[in-house]
Symmetry: C3
Subunit: 270 residues, 3 copies
């Protein structure tokens, strides 16, 4: 079965089983992350107190760790929840927002990678390069690095950490170290709305909740966001902008279907 | 005067007096809770530091305590603010989000119920069952329990705690232990947007700010959300989904009026 | 060159240089603040842990400190980040949300004013009066004070603190103590959406990132929000309300241009 067909199955499973996606995430985009998971058909739960994260994650189908507004309290909760998820074979997804921008973020990611086995790590080129140990100049949480050697970097990191690495950008690169996918969906206006990266990670969290194929789930989340974004952009009339775009993005995720994937999916699988 | 007429008066009072609704709530849906209170005509304030909650609540017309993303710091603030509100006869509303999902939540609710007298407790069937001391399986913060014996459970709990208990679901049940209401407004799409439960609680917080009839205020908040949700759903065109739905929900609360209550209100009062 | 022309240049610079605006802000309106900065053309970053704020602010073009949901942890971070920004000559903007409502807020603002030199302080009449040491009754975070003597209060405070003071209301007053502007843009529906004040402050943060003229940047942020709000209000059809208004507000900021400023700008500069 080809990848798009598998993703279609994965989407049906999400809608049918409504996997619970436990998030320990930032307070900037958390509402959007919850709504995007609901729109796809999943069930989000946000809980970050150290006294409850182990219990909460034990009910979950997946755990999303996003360091967007990390602090000492939540870093401890991330570690505890991640270790518990690993024990229970619940897949853990990492969004290393702004790693490299500050020592706190870089140190936090080091510890998380030491203690937790991740199913998928999704970031932009700068973030993934930092994790791969390369030197890169970061401006806030945005990336401006070239992505031409993205695949090599991603493959090496995926092999080193035994995980799926997804680098999102104009062309998205997703690999488990042996297999890889390139995704050409999306539109640059997505970077004009805060949290579209976080939301992609949350969609991966939903998809990963009903499959053991983490590469497929990562591609699914990214292609879903890309297609929904394209359609939202194309629908904009004169005078409309990111306000309307964001509304339509959620509409499109809510109505996301087999046809969208078949007609619009631009996935190269090797 | 029948209940709908009283709710119409209550709505006018909210618009005229703009009651200040102090929230100690979660960071997932807090923006929506603030905007829904503003849309109805109230005045929201969010403040959770233990050093200021007593002062802040002393200006307020009501206090909403929502445990969606509780932590040790905010639990202490909830207790302190609630005790102060009780001293000043300011009504306190409880939204026990996800109680039963973790020990932390269950313990927090136990302490809150011991220390604070609530005017209204609003939750879904699972949450209210937990509070009533019954056994129930909870999946995250969502409820899948049958609601057929909802009225008995609600009445017993209302009498035990000397409060108004509101169970929201397909048919909402609201009771003070002697009187009760059943509300048949709403649409299931409301459960596809995060925070519609929290927002209902915040609306109750606004209504309760201008009346001493807590049963009426609880029904008012729930019927308002239900009607606004129905109208938002009915307005959706092909290709629209929860993005547009949420926008229209706020539009409908902003324009909510006597006519909406008279024409659409499905309230059985016994 | 007249002020509107300078603001047009400032807008182009924001779009061209995409200044990084570091926020330490509240969890109620943080998502809207991030999106408004993006919509204008800037680059927002939200980071509040004491271990990273000095590093983060050192990359930034400006720092926005907003005390909307302050707590002990974040107050310390605000102080540390502000001092660092001052050392590096990075302009710092203050939004003293709800100062005077509680002792915690008033004390926090006192300390911030002692330790940090602000480029711009933007608040409503009540908030600015509190800072100016005058007596005023505050209801939550909203202001109902008369603004007739706003200019005197603002000028005195601006001179005392050697900063730009901006009082927003029906008529906005902005002054550096010698020069002053009055802005008559905006619409009262803006006060029906939570965070429009915070968002104005964030827009100032973006404008201030590409100019040394802080008075101009403050006027720019306020007039931008005012014009975008007017246009959003005028576009509303029957049955639409604050949901649609907020969407269009973001659309209008995204499409904000020279023409808007030339045709609609109501700025009196003396």
């Amino acid at each position: 079965m080809e990848l798009i067909s598998k993703i279609i199955e994965n989407l049906k499973e999400v809608k049918g089983k409504s996997p619970l996606v436990h998030h320990i995430t930032n307070y900037v985009t958390v509402n959007d992350c919850a709504n995007i998971v609901l729109a796809l058909g999943g069930s989000p739960v946000m809980a970050d107190d150290i006294k409850e994260v182990e219990e909460m994650v034990s009910f979950a189908s997946s755990l999303v760790i996003n360091i967007g507004t990390l602090n000492e309290r939540t870093i401890s909760s991330m570690i505890k929840a991640g270790i518990k998820a690993n024990e229970l074979n619940i897949p853990v997804i990492l969004d290393p927002v702004g790693v490299g921008a500050t020592g706190l973020r870089t140190e936090a990611i080091k510890i998380l990678l030491e203690k937790i086995k991740f199913a998928v790590i999704r970031g932009n080129m700068s973030e993934i390069k930092i994790i791969a140990g390369m030197d890169v100049k970061i401006k806030g949480v945005d990336s401006t690095a070239s992505d031409e050697d993205a695949l090599d970097i991603a493959k090496n990191l995926a092999n080193k950490l035994n995980t799926v690495v997804a680098i999102t950008g104009a062309r998205d690169v997703i690999t488990d170290g042996s297999r890889h996918c390139l995704v050409d969906n999306g539109h640059k206006i997505l970077s004009m709305v805060t949290g579209t990266g976080c939301m992609s990670t949350s969609l991966i969290g939903a998809y990963v909740g009903t499959t053991n194929d983490y590469l497929q789930a990562a591609v699914a989340g990214i292609v879903t966001m890309g297609i929904a974004g394209e359609k939202a952009y194309e629908s904009l009339a004169q005078g409309e902008g990111i306000g309307t775009f964001k509304v339509r993005l959620f509409d499109n995720i809510y109505n996301f279907c087999e046809e969208d994937l078949k007609v619009r999916g631009k996935v190269i699988y090797e």
